[in-house]
């Protein structure tokens, strides 16, 4: 009856070449994954090994004293505080702008030309190097008579964070099922009520994740705050005075020809890394808690 069909034996009948091909590409993919994990491991290891000797209670709790950059007493509290102020300020400001953009794109203008133009602009903004934001921010500040200051740094970082945050929020809001939108409208809500009371709630975990992603980029960026926030050995006290930041603290210390100072540079980098890691782990936990109401 089944003339040409071979008997099922359970043994491999395909060519040996196919089998090798499968194994080869699987190995290749595994290698790529290892490169990522290994890269992260190597970076963390370097920062920890080189940073730990320089890390001390003093470093975390004091501001630079005279001769700090020559290896004398003091700490980087000014930079820790400055970085937190800068990144928190910029993240809050960027969120105020990014959330309305993301909601507008999905609730008011889905699939429209206007939405496509806005998304393209955000993507282009995302790709602009941070030194360009720094130079742009500096130029504008010169024009309006604002000197390097906390405010200037926050505004420039806001520009840097905005596209990341808006696009991240946009992506999660896009994932909301059409039917949930329909359900909301079917209850007689206006677009605004649907956007704020339902869509934003459904997307809340993603919105938080997007904010922290942007925070991470903001706090780690050196080039955009170089001209706009300046640097100082004092603690931040005013929006209109320069502030220190961790990336620049790393940069300045690393450039010094003294071993102690370079160790402190790595210790500063370790502090920065721990802040970013802490924030991203914290955001994951928070997002999971917020996800309890989310409809699958």
């Amino acid at each position: 009856m089944t003339g040409n069909r071979t008997v099922f034996t359970g043994k491999r009948t395909g060519s040996k070449r196919k089998h090798l091909e499968e194994r080869f590409f699987k190995g290749l993919m595994l290698l790529s994954c290892l490169a990522v994990a290994g890269g992260l491991g190597a970076i963390l290891l370097t920062v920890v090994v080189k940073g730990l000797p320089g890390l001390s209670w003093e470093l975390l709790t004091q501001t630079p004293k005279g001769g700090f950059y020559l290896g004398k007493e003091g700490g980087i509290l000014n930079a820790i505080a400055g970085s937190l102020y800068l990144a928190l300020g910029a993240t809050a400001l960027a969120a105020l702008i990014a959330l309305p953009i993301a909601l507008y794109l999905e609730v008011y203008a889905p699939g429209s030309r206007r939405a496509a133009v806005i998304r393209l602009s955000l993507d282009v903004m995302w790709g602009i190097p941070s030194i360009v934001y720094g130079a742009f921010g500096f130029t504008v500040m010169m024009l309006v008579g604002l000197r390097a200051s906390l405010l200037g740094g926050i505004l420039t970082l806001t520009l840097l964070e905005l596209p990341i945050m808006a696009r991240a929020m946009d992506e999660v809001i896009k994932m909301i099922p059409m039917e949930l939108k329909e359900s909301s409208f079917a209850l007689g809500t206006t677009r605004f009520e649907a956007a704020v009371k339902i869509m934003a709630r459904q997307a809340l975990p993603g919105i938080v994740t997007g904010m922290l992603l942007a925070f991470g980029r903001g706090i780690g960026d050196a080039a955009s705050v170089l001209f706009t926030a300046g640097f100082t050995d004092r603690m931040p006290t005013s929006l209109f005075r320069p502030v220190a930041s961790l990336p620049l603290a790393v940069f300045f210390q690393l450039g010094m020809p003294y071993k102690e100072v370079q160790e402190r540079a790595y210790a500063s980098a370790l502090v920065l890394t721990v802040i970013v890691l802490g924030v991203s782990l914290g955001s994951r936990l928070l997002a999971r808690r917020l996800a309890r109401n989310v409809v699958q």
């Binding site: 939108k181 329909e182 209850l187 007689g188």
Partner: protein, 251 residues
């Protein structure tokens, strides 16, 4: 004769260049269950969603003609679309609870529309959950996320949520198609009870369900309304050949 609640006149709907509904005319009776029957892709859901202007949120839709709800054309530019939707709630194919607790799902509509001024929200929530036949199952976990309910319970929650807005019309888009048989029965039983108070319009492609529920039948095929009439008459003596063919399971 029947008191007409919704009257559809010369309704045409286009998605871009594709015409989804052609010159639909039908009178939907008040406080009855009207079932829209037909094979997939015949425009049943489009007709249903034209009744509360839910079509508006789809891209590139154009509607001509009229849908009169109590004599008022809901496509009149002067009409507030949220008022229309408040009067005609929707039960969709798959339940989509709102991303909040069971209680807040039911309270959502009344809160948005300010319906419970001077009334006790807890009592309102209980009343509507009872009407949807869900109260006994959820009364101990009103503040748990709605997403944790079973699919069948979620669909009844969506019914309660819709009823809490105090509509006159309930639109159902194959509301039992994602449910197990027991849950489907629950929903059917509720709909039969609710027809005393509401005008119900259901889309289904399950013939047996139509026979169980329908007072009035609308048969659609490829965007045309082929035949409509009282259920007993359409099922026993269809006028059109296409209706007869569909009812006997030929397509």
């Amino acid at each position: 004769m029947n008191d007409t609640h919704i009257s559809v006149r010369d309704l045409n709907v286009y998605y871009g260049k594709h015409q989804a509904l052609c010159d639909i005319n039908v009178e939907i009776p008040r406080n009855k269950i009207t079932v829209i029957l037909g094979p997939s892709g015949c425009g049943k859901t489009t007709l249903l969603k034209s009744l509360n202007r839910l079509l508006d949120i789809t891209d590139g839709v154009r509607v001509t003609g009229q849908v009169l709800l109590d004599g008022i054309n809901i496509y009149d530019p002067a009409v507030d679309v949220t008022e229309v939707r408040k009067r005609a709630g929707l039960l969709s194919q798959r339940p989509y609870p709102l991303p909040m607790s069971v209680y807040d799902n039911v309270a959502f509509g009344p809160r948005v529309h300010g319906l419970t001024r001077g009334r006790d929200m807890d009592a309102e929530v209980q009343r509507h959950l009872e009407m949807a036949g869900l109260w006994d199952e959820v009364k101990d976990r009103l503040h748990a996320p709605a997403a944790r309910l079973s699919v069948g319970q979620q669909q009844r929650l969506c019914l309660a949520r819709g009823l809490a807005v105090e509509p006159e019309v309930i639109l159902g888009d194959e509301p039992t198609s994602a449910l197990d048989p027991i849950s489907a029965q629950h929903i059917e039983a509720r709909l039969l009870e609710l027809r005393e108070l509401y005008t119900i319009v259901l889309v289904t492609h399950i013939l047996r369900q139509a026979r169980r529920l329908a007072d009035y039948v609308v048969f659609m095929y490829l965007g045309d309304l082929v035949e409509d009439g009282p259920a007993a008459q359409v099922f026993a003596h269809p006028r059109e050949e296409r209706t007869r063919a569909y009812l006997s399971g030929e397509f």
